[in-house]
Amino acid sequence: MSSDKNTGLKFSSPYTPNTENDRAEMLKAIGVNTVDDLFKDIPASYLNPELKIPDAISEMELVQEMEDLANLNSVPGEYASFMGSGAYKHFIPSIVNRLALRSEFMTCYTPYQPEVSQGTLQAHFEFQSMVCQLTGMDVANAGMYDGSTALSEAALMACRVTKKQVVSVFDSVSPYYRDVLKTFLDAPGIKIESAKDGNLKVNKNHACLIVQQPNYFGYFEDLSKLSDDIHNAGGLLIVVTDPISLGMYKPPADYGADIVVAEGQSMGIATSFGGPYVGLFACKQQYIRQMPGRIVGRTKDTNGNTGYVLTLQTREQHIRRDRATSNICTSVGLIALMSTIYMISQGKQGLKHIANLCYQKAHYAAAKINEIDGYIVHTDKPFFKEFVVSCPMSPKEINKRLLHNKIIGGVDVSNLTKNGMLICVTETNSKDEIDLLVSSLSEIITEG
């Protein structure tokens, strides 16, 4: 134990209760003299290396340092934000965090021992149920890392189901998701083909067609036709969706989707610089044994009382090892719980209302922006809460200027469409914020 040179205080950690006395007693009971006797299996010359990390600090100093770091960031909320592209600012009711942060939910692990994990298991079952209700699908798992890895796992699953090695991906699927898909599919040698709207040629080699609805740019695809095309070719239809849109729009199941995945962050989860989020994963009943991830089932105990357990575990890595459906070992339980509380809390009326608010406000913003000379809003297809604007100058430059007005503008998609900015409007954007965005965009033109 080292001492602080200035104060002479011996270092002790609030997280390790055993004192020097405790340690001495325990070492004696074990039958060794020093703690390093317990590390004797480690080659001696490697033991106790020099550690070039800063000294311990107190909780007060920690909080100050971390607040200083946090204050270096510009925070949506203080800034009007119109940024979406897969991570969305929606209002989070207080009960989401108050309930999820309870010690009982937060400081337990994967429910391997069902008799003492019924809280987690029942919450997971609620999650699976509500994901099914929203997407219209038969079954859902308890959660994946995020939307992008849920999609990658869906593509791998489609290859297992169809025994084919090529996937077809619409180019209006999020470029971030397509990047992750490449990471996951390249290694096992699965080919990715890019499909363009109007130039779609699925064929019998395709394990699946991957479509995003609404797509990355916020617009709706003609899913009925695409569904027929891929099914006629003997492949599966995988739909990436936004659960908030499902408050009012047709669920992917109605179009014949075989697997539905989504990013669950929009339902009660802070944007938190990109994570942790939770991926939603649902499919048709017949593919259940090929599904990756944790699944909770309802059963009875020896007294005939209802209870919940992890089930169909033989699909998973801890049993099937190298032949498992996936290596995944988590269901991101806490985040899945948060989205579950969000869904219950918003409920039937709330989910529909939130979707409608997003729709109305996004369309109001689009109409106003379209009125400004030099800005053209893309309206060739219906959209939900995001849309693309062709700007009169580079979106990067526009966003820089918007920051001066305390606005975080849309995501720069000029690499995908010329001077394109992808603007997102949710229920959290007030009319005042939208009007400020419109007047600011207009000023930028005038300033030139």
Binding site: R289, Q313, T314, I319, R320, R323
Partner: protein, 126 residues
């Protein structure tokens, strides 16, 4: 007690070759007990050709998966469709209602290489 007239493999499958055109195959009680509560059986489709000692399916309990290996070569004639709703039949009646598949054998000589009930008993005791 295991049926004296059946033959057994080291992978704990039995065959009943009373009808030599359609040989019945299952797993032994010993295997079923080791696995525990059987919850799922995956069998090949009818007409599939299998080779002796090669994998033809999978059997799952709550926390284990085992490959099923065919004791003889041949073509699958029947699958026990009752195992789809009631996989527990394998636990309840391994040598009867819990049968897995029937096979039209390609080489009857293979049967001679399998264990008798006596040998199998010795095999499981060791």
């Amino acid at each position: 007690m295991i049926p004296a007239e059946f033959k057994y493999s080291e992978e704990h499958e039995w065959i009943n070759s009373k009808d030599i055109d359609e040989i019945i195959i299952g797993i032994t009680d010993f295997a079923a007990d080791t696995l525990g509560d059987i919850v799922f059986v995956e069998l090949p489709s009818i007409g599939t050709e299998v080779k002796q000692f090669e994998k033809f399916g999978e059997i799952e309990s709550v926390k284990a998966v085992s490959d099923l290996f065919s004791p003889i070569s041949g073509t699958i004639i029947k699958r026990n469709e009752n195992l789809v709703p009631k996989p527990e039949l394998v636990n309840q009646d391994a040598y009867g209602d819990g049968w897995l598949i029937t096979i039209s054998p390609t080489d009857l000589k293979e049967i001679d290489g399998l264990m008798s009930s006596k040998d199998y008993n010795k095999f499981t005791e060791s």
